[in-house]
Symmetry: C2
Subunit: 353 residues, 2 copies
């Protein structure tokens, strides 16, 4: 029996992470933080594909600013990446993944593309979904993982799950980007829609071929950026002039919504993108009163609160349904359910500067 | 016309000030803080009796720990005390005032005893009340000022105002310490009760004579503590061994509630003891939404909140009826109306240490 080819994890560590301000900041984005446990989300992402029987060493695509921190965090959990490809500027996910596909050699290597700042509670379900996707991927299909939805989310992309192609694998009938609430509610009720979780599995050559067809300028810019890259240990500094010429686009818009051979593997795996403090509260272990506290917190008669602090001592009494986050010299306070409004505060602070 | 004798202000700077934690702390109690404006409450207290036509230089009675800070704060507003009498330990108000009466010479000098951490918005009304009290004080009466009540406070001492003796001056019919709520409500409704504000006017010799009668051990301990005191500039360090022998008691229990010639001058002067964050909120200038913020605060859609910070930046959105106080590395959060519960937090933190 020949041993099955290993899958190469591609970990995307982009994003400025303002939604979890003040813990996440440009210099310390969400994936670098241990918000849900002792490990950072980057570390948990890498450890999900640490089984060397199934996975090769990962490729990490990141902002050059974070190179040292990423290497340190992965080293701390015994992960040695094959390479860390450093983007001189952000160009969204499609060019970032192009860098990875080219750095991986551009051949038939299977790439498992994963954002570094998502939570997956049921890793076994994730591995099973990968196994289900694999045969179609080997045949050149582009596979996305469709998250079983449990709320009418208007901020996500949705997928209408089409005809069954193989065990656990379906054609994508349609992508629906960020729907209005009534449409999201209808999709949730339909039972045949899933969230687009931003996790993909495909062969490097299949992805690059799709780019050739739908975004050739992106492909050539990424190829030149790798060709002219500066190497420093495992770090690959993509060439800035070349990469700057790439159009900026998401993999969804540039490739997945256009290509023909696109499949979806629906999966229920305790996924969360931890896209807000409310989302973190929802997935955090809570006490009997619904509180999820982390750090130096004294709370009396407090219910359904999320309090996180990395330095300040938070003392509260008689408080309900409040989110409090203290980091450095900043303290964020807002009621549960309003954590999307962090961006209003950040805008107000920018104006005040 | 002979010039009237000057009144000597006696400023009591005691108290550990835990009720306004985390701004007030043992090393920086409430009276040292500028909670209501640009001046500290100690400074405002001293400036209320700065008119040299009516008042002599003040005597300050304080914890030895605060000597330098008090002198600095008074110097900053141009007040030079006659002396700062430093207590080696706290023995409550009656012995503290005994030290002042003896340090003032023990003769017929009139002493205006004032806590250093009260707010009086209408200083003219205060001065008028002092003028009304003066003739009876010169005759040896002990006068307390009775604050016009506007709430059924259960934490205060109350006074039943008795028969009129002179313009604005009444006999004290009865003292009522910290009544239950129904009794407080009845006293409020009666119209003939006042709060005991802790502000007194009497001759030094009258006070000491009352001590001789009701608390002779206190009188002798205070006399010896001053006799053996160490002098350092304007600072008088009361002798620790002698003062330690004094019983500990309040002026109300030790003297006012026992003496015969006790009068009350009812006065409405915008008084507050600022005994809680709610009390501070009530007397603070608020914006149209009822917010009273001080320090680095960004507040969006926020109503009826009190936010004070001396360092941390507080960013809040969608919050109502909340008290937030950040000082040093501590952040206090509680709903309006529950600020008496700060002491529960302080107890919990002590246990945690």
């Amino acid at each position: 029996m020949t041993k099955a080819a290993l899958i190469t994890p591609v970990i995307l560590s982009g994003g400025s992470g303002t939604r979890l301000w003040p813990m996440s900041r440009p210099e310390m984005p969400k994936q670098m933080l241990a918000l849900t446990g002792d490990q950072t989300m980057l570390q948990m992402t890498a450890l999900r594909t640490a089984d060397t029987e199934a996975f090769a060493a990962p490729l990490v695509i990141a902002n050059a600013q974070h190179a040292d921190l990423i290497q340190q965090q992965l080293d701390d959990v015994g992960i040695r990446p094959a390479a860390i490809v450093l983007e001189p500027m952000g160009r969204n996910t499609a060019p970032a993944i192009a860098l990875a596909a080219i750095a991986a050699g551009g051949g038939d290597a299977m790439l498992l593309v994963m954002p570094s700042d998502h939570v997956i509670a049921d890793v076994s379900a994730f591995h099973a979904a990968i196994a289900a996707a694999r045969p179609m991927v080997e045949q050149g299909w582009l596979v996305t993982f469709g998250i079983q939805p449990d709320a009418p989310e208007t901020g996500y992309g949705w997928i209408k799950v089409g005809d069954r192609m193989a065990d656990g694998v379906h054609r994508v009938d349609r992508f629906v980007e960020k729907p209005p609430l009534d449409k999201a509610e209808a999709m949730l009720a339909s039972g045949d829609h899933a969230w687009n979780g931003g996790i993909f599995l495909f062969r490097a050559d299949a992805y690059l071929a799709a780019l050739d067809q739908f975004a050739p300028a992106m492909r050539s810019a990424a190829a030149e950026a790798i060709e002219l890259a500066r190497h420093d240990g495992i770090a690959i500094h993509a060439d800035a002039d070349a990469f700057a010429r790439s159009p900026s686009d998401s993999i969804d818009y540039a490739v997945m919504e256009r290509a023909d051979r696109v499949a979806v593997v629906p999966v229920s795996m305790g996924w969360s993108d931890v896209g807000s403090w409310d989302a973190l509260h929802a997935i955090s272990a809570s006490d009997a009163a619904g509180n999820a506290h982390k750090g130096d917190v004294i709370a009396i008669d407090t219910e359904r609160c999320l309090v996180q602090t990395d330095g300040a001592r938070i003392a509260m009494v008689g408080v309900e349904d409040l989110i409090v986050v203290a980091s450095g010299k900043d303290v964020l306070i807002l009621p549960r359910g309003r954590s999307q409004e962090v961006k209003r505060l950040i805008e107000a602070m920018k104006k005040g500067d």
